[in-house]
Amino acid sequence: MKFDVAILGAGPAGLAAARAAGRRSASVALIDDNVTAGGQIWRGAPRIAVPTGVRFFPQTRVFDLRPGFMLLTESHGAMEASRLILATGARELLLPFPGWTVPGVFGAGGLQALVKSGLPVGGKRVMVAGSGPLLVAVAAALRTAGARVVGITEQVPLGRIVPFLAKYPAKLPQAFALRARLLGVPYWTGTWPVRFDEGMVTLSGGRTVAVDYLACGFGLVPNTEAAQLLGCRLDGGFVAVDSRQETSVAGVYCAGEPTGIGGLDKALEDGERAGAAATGQAVNPSRGAFVRDLAAAFHLDPRLFDLAEPSTVVCRCEDVALGTLRPYREWREAKLMTRCGMGPCQGRICGPITNCLLGWSAESVRRPLVPVAAELLSKDVLQP
């Protein structure tokens, strides 16, 4: 299958890119591993319309990308495209504390995603914890689904959130609407969970709260691996792009969270620009400050990096504890000596953690992007 433009990721950024590219080009493919389009924020939302004329490939995981460009998928074989737009979104930053590996502890967006895929939470006591605007959205969604949200803990002190909201009054109605759905739910700022044990969350400050589920995420980590596999340059952990969303690799564009965590509006704007640029249309300039302000407002308290004890597991695939990692100086050394990051998630979860706790940066990405049946790797798609 050959297309002018292939878009990887059907979240807001990918959908906006598809709409923009579809205005000019007849042959646009939109590829996503989920059942429906919408990405994280619109996951499971009824009727997210894929722009007409765009071919949508749901439940299609891309496990390899090659120059030229070729996307290798689990379900549709190889797809070719002259231009590529990467809109691969973000995952959550999960930080270790004693008890974080016990079943019942989820990412915040993680529990939300599970609810959107059919998990009933009616009557369940849930605490939503961590950091970022996502927490309030998750808490509201959980409550709508019938959960008893027993509290939200946000690590940022209130004194930093208020000026941030004041600077972006456009986000206020949304914030108030969410808050209105959360009447009666305690919102503890400058607070975080320090332990989870037998259904009991202990918060910094000493309070304990009984829960069925703890949904805990500390912000977002960009999914840059697809771009890295193609050799796109990163800058400060994000995919570097020019004013037209083009990466350092000609013909590869990137939009949404991988170029800077900025949420829905930024993803939509990025996507529009990338779709327009990839099809030779004029491009609107970006309004960049929000990404920086968001990162500054929700900057993580360094005390969060001291919650794990020496026996607390950091690498969940291989069960490598923090104390085992301490003697090493860098990611690759620890990896070779302790198996940290060598399991099936390939450091997607523990890499960002060791970055926060130990100052390490994870090494280069290898194929496949996600674990795949060996059979798929042996089909030499380049030579028919």
Partner: protein, 350 residues
């Protein structure tokens, strides 16, 4: 000023580390330099199969001697080195290869190595996931496996050698009684004209499937792939890790071949173990073997105080310990533990 060491070893892969260990045990003051992480070169890319090969007498002598040394060292290795006396199963596809297995058996037996011929039924008892219709195989009992990066670290620690991180640009500039170049496939950068060529190999590793394979499995045609000089070759070589993961190899190609051998290598593996098709691969990578024209390593004096320990092709983890013994004897002026002339550097012109 600290006095210059007796021996400076360039390269902290398994070969350099083994040399440091052996020289230090013999009383020499040793230092090690590596531009990267100790054990982070070919040593991190390989499979760590400790295997006796019998393609020629010199190879047999060095691998047999070295595997014996590994068994002696095993008790001292830390658990993380994952030493596992798992043996090797050589797989015979047909009657012709079965005859090869029989010949191999007699060579191993003559050399005092335990080995058992497996008929068809015994082969499937040993390895139920091999495809139907194979003729049989040969189980070599004494072969083993080790996780080489941790073993490298252990050998370095035992040597108490100072390890410096720096890139060496000239061997002659190093101040030491003797300088050992153990930079693996990168040796020609320091010794121009050296007859060592990088030979790339792909590997894939799967998620955990405990019991899927019980021994390292190698097709009897492997030696042809390893020792032939064809520009591109693949062979069936699957190794279970103690974790239950499966390492899938092997491929060989020189720098002038740019094709990906991952696909044909996997296809070869499926031809022997169809169940591998469904196994989930979590990572693939490549590494470089240091290949000499006769596929034997270069161990010994290059000129005046400069020594070489490189060219170990696909056997450097296995032969590192034997290499270290031979080199130590030469540097310190002892008689070598096994005849060392087949590995001498001057068999090629530099």
């Amino acid at each position: 000023m600290t006095p210059s060491p007796d021996v400076m070893i360039v390269g902290a892969g398994i070969v350099g580390a083994a040399c440091a260990y052996e020289l230090a045990r013999a009383g020499a003051r040793v230092e090690v330099i590596d531009s990267g992480l100790p054990g982070g070169g070919a040593t991190a890319a390989g499979m760590g199969h400790l295997v006796v090969l019998d393609d020629n007498e010199a190879e047999l002598a060095l691998t047999k001697y070295s595997v014996g040394l590994w068994h002696s060292l095993a008790k001292e290795l830390p658990a993380a080195a994952e030493f596992w006396g798992c043996g090797t199963v050589w797989v015979a596809a047909d009657e012709v290869e079965m005859a090869g297995a029989l010949a191999k058996l007699s060579v191993y037996r003559q050399n005092g190595l335990a080995a058992e011929l497996l008929d068809e039924r015994q082969l499937y008892e040993a390895e139920p996931n091999l495809r139907a219709g194979l003729a049989g195989g040969l189980l070599v009992n004494g072969d083993a496996m080790v996780y080489a990066p941790v073993a490298t670290r252990f050998l370095l620690e035992q040597s108490k050698a100072k390890v410096t991180r720096a890139a060496v640009t000239s061997l002659d500039d190093l101040k030491a009684g003797a300088v050992v170049c153990a930079t693996g496939a990168m040796a020609p950068a320091l010794v121009p004209g050296l007859r060592v060529r990088p030979r790339k190999g792909y590997l894939a590793i799967t998620d955990r499937y405990p019991g899927f394979a019980r021994h390292p499995l190698v097709e009897l045609g492997y030696l042809q792939s390893a020792h032939g000089d064809s520009n591109e070759s693949v062979a069936f070589n699957v190794q279970p890790r103690p974790t239950g993961q499966l390492l899938i190899g092997s491929s060989r190609q020189y720098a002038d071949s740019t094709a990906s051998l991952l696909e044909p290598m996997l296809a070869r593996a499926f031809a022997y173990m169809p169940g591998l098709r469904a196994c989930s691969v979590i990572r693939t990578w490549t590494g470089f073997r240091a290949s000499t024209p006769d596929k034997l390593p270069m161990i010994g004096r290059l000129r005046d105080r400069i020594y070489l320990a490189t060219g170990h092709e696909g056997l450097g983890v296995t032969t590192s310990l034997g290499t270290a013994k031979i080199l130590t004897a030469e540097i310190l002026g002892y008689a070598p533990p096994i005849p060392a002339w087949p590995y001498r550097v001057e068999r090629f012109d530099v």
